[in-house]
Amino acid sequence: MFSRRTLIGATAALALLATTGAASAQEYDIALISKGFQHQFWQAVKAGADKAAAEFNAKVTFEGPDTEAQVDRQMDMLSAALARKPSAIGFAALDSQAATPLLQQAKDAGIPVIAFDSGVDSDIPLTTATTDNVAAAALAADKMAELIGGAGKVAVVAHDQTSRTGIDRVNGFVDRIKANYPNIEVVSVQYGGGDQLASTEITKSILLANPDLKGIFGANEGSALGVVNGKKELNSNVVVIGYDSGAAQKAAIMDGTMAGAITQNPVGIGYETVKAAIAALKGETLPKVIDTGFFYYDKTNMDAPEIAAVLYD
């Protein structure tokens, strides 16, 4: 009876022994709480953070909820991270308001907070390491104009109309077309929730409704792949520009279904976040925003070292 009763505890103890042994004495302990975990994009952010950790001899942990809807799970992760008493925290808020009390707690405890990816609506984070999504989408618009010869109809398939990235990318693209390319018309902006299949159906309906369409911009990985699928299913020749990377998107660029894509620099986001945290701990002043950069890539430059380094599968 005794052995069975302690079965649970014993297993947990074993698991813990295995892990506590690995934690060695590093100068800084930095906890990163992200918006996601298993997605390739977040894993690339993690890789950047790990790289900085090795470089600056810091211990870095990286956690995020399963989906970007799980605001409460993210709060639990943040409270556990705070209880650990780390030297600094990196945080990508799913909902800024919900996080305010905990961020205040961090501030009161003298733990510097660095925002990353989409930022936090609060003055507590010392800086935000993020992509300038408006400028990145504007670059996509420039490339689109170049590829379709500066005239004709285009459309946008985006992930959602509420998130910061969704709004910025759609506005960045549409505003640049309106401002610089009077002969190009954005006939449709539709939202597929970043879901590949939903975005495929949307793309097909746009293409069927506008047979003379010249180009489509897919505003995130799922949307872009949906656009590619829709194009293939209808045997269309429309020019496709995507966003982010991933194995499928890279393959589409290699086989020509997609002309090219904007890539953020997720590795840079992770790296800059940890670097900023350490700078803060050393008492250095930080700029309000750290632009982590973006690139346009296509078949010709995909293998260039500075591009290949930020693409993920």
């Binding site: 069975r4 009763r5 302690t6 079965l7 649970i8 505890g9 014993a10 297993t11 947990a12 103890a13 698991a15 813990l16 892990t19 506590t20 934690a23 302990d29 906890a31 975990f37 211990k59 942990t61 990286f62 956690e63 995020g64 399963d66 989906t67 970007e68 809807a69 799980q70 605001v71 409460d72 709060m75 639990d76 992760m77 409270s79 556990a80 991270a81 705070l82 209880a83 650990r84 008493k85 909902d95 308001q97 919900a98 009390p101 959602d160 109309q161 509420t162």
Partner: protein
């Protein structure tokens, strides 16, 4: 212990006599063992602030798991608890923020929405004979969609109802005993646990809940209106989900419409770790509470120790299987 009384009173089935006690002991020892191990492994674990963080992380899942316990004891299953929670939160948001009604109406709206949804599930299962798994799977999707429709796919914030966040985050206990700022959300979890324990142990509804799970046909043959009791159990579970909706909305100061799917599995895990049988007829609220605590202690402790997230998930999975295996070993011996 409580079910033993129930069984004696109901006098229907002897096989449920004395069930939960041993398992509760087992689950409780497991919880204690985890607490001891984590306390030894990290000085930051056994701090008031962290213990409160653990309890707070348990509050929503605990309440959902109690709702799931009710249904699972009848031999059914409720996959809609997570999205129902969200839908109740959204309705509260509509009542408080969009309509601008006073706080009590918001609370009432959550409870009634939950009860109505539970009633619909119960009706579908009892009267239309749709299996519980399918009926509540359908409800899960319906409620998920309705949450998005009603909210316009945007979070609804409660900035106009300043008292709302106090439901979860305020601390009545802390006002009475300074230095022990247990959030109200945790208090509400315990109140719900006591209420539902009472219902299960001391009322006719409780007796029939166990009886339905043990042998529904026998109950029917003894002239009981089985359908009515079954619908009542689902409706009660639904209003408990309404409480969870209030807790999560209050904690986040917003109704997040995309939340909720997946939460039913955590709730069911807590129920199972707590010794409630998925085949029905056996289970306790206290066990479920301990099960929910084990899940949060594990998650929190592994985070405090900086265990990589992928391994946290693996460990949690192992614990669930171990807990149920231990229970099977026990029953084989009986």
């Amino acid at each position: 212990m409580t079910e033993a009384n129930v069984a004696a009173k109901a006098g229907l089935f002897d096989n449920i006599r004395g069930s939960g006690a041993w398992h509760k002991l087992l689950a409780f020892s497991g919880l204690l063992a985890l607490l001891v191990v984590f306390s030894l492994a990290s000085p930051n674990f056994l701090q008031t602030q962290n213990i409160i963080a653990i309890l707070q992380a348990t509050s929503v899942n605990g309440v959902l798991a109690i709702a799931a316990t009710l249904v699972i004891i009848t031999g059914g299953i409720d996959l809609s608890v997570g999205t129902l929670m969200t839908f109740c939160a959204v309705i509260t948001g509509v009542v408080l923020t969009y309509l601008g009604w006073p706080l009590p109406f918001g609370i009432l709206a959550a409870l009634l929405t939950g009860m109505l949804s539970g009633f619909i599930s119960g009706f579908t299962i009892a009267k239309l004979k749709v299996p519980p798994f399918i009926a509540t799977l359908g409800m899960m999707l319906i409620l998920k969609g309705l949450s998005l429709v009603v909210s316009g796919t945007k979070p609804i914030y409660f900035n106009n109802t300043p008292g709302f966040s106090q439901i979860s985050l305020g601390s009545v206990v802390g006002n009475v005993i300074p230095g022990l700022p247990i959030p109200n959300g945790v208090l509400i979890l315990f109140v719900v646990a006591i209420l539902i324990s009472f219902v299960l142990g001391k009322t006719a509804l409780g007796r029939y809940t166990f009886a339905l799970g043990s042998n529904e046909e026998a109950v029917r043959l003894s002239g009981v209106n089985v359908d009515r009791w079954k619908i009542a159990v689902y409706a009660l579970a639904g209003s408990v989900c309404g409480v969870a909706g209030l807790l999560i909305a209050s904690r986040l100061n917003s109704a997040q419409p995309a939340l909720g799917q997946g939460y039913e599995l955590d709730a069911i895990a807590a129920v199972v770790i707590g010794g409630t049988s998925l085949s029905g007829g056996r289970g306790t609220v206290l066990g479920t509470l301990i099960g929910a605590l084990i899940i949060s202690v594990l998650a929190n402790g592994l985070r405090i120790l900086s265990v990589a997230q992928e391994w946290q998930t693996v460990v949690t999975g192992c614990i669930i299987i171990l807990a149920v295996y231990a229970d099977i070993l026990r029953r084989r011996k009986l």
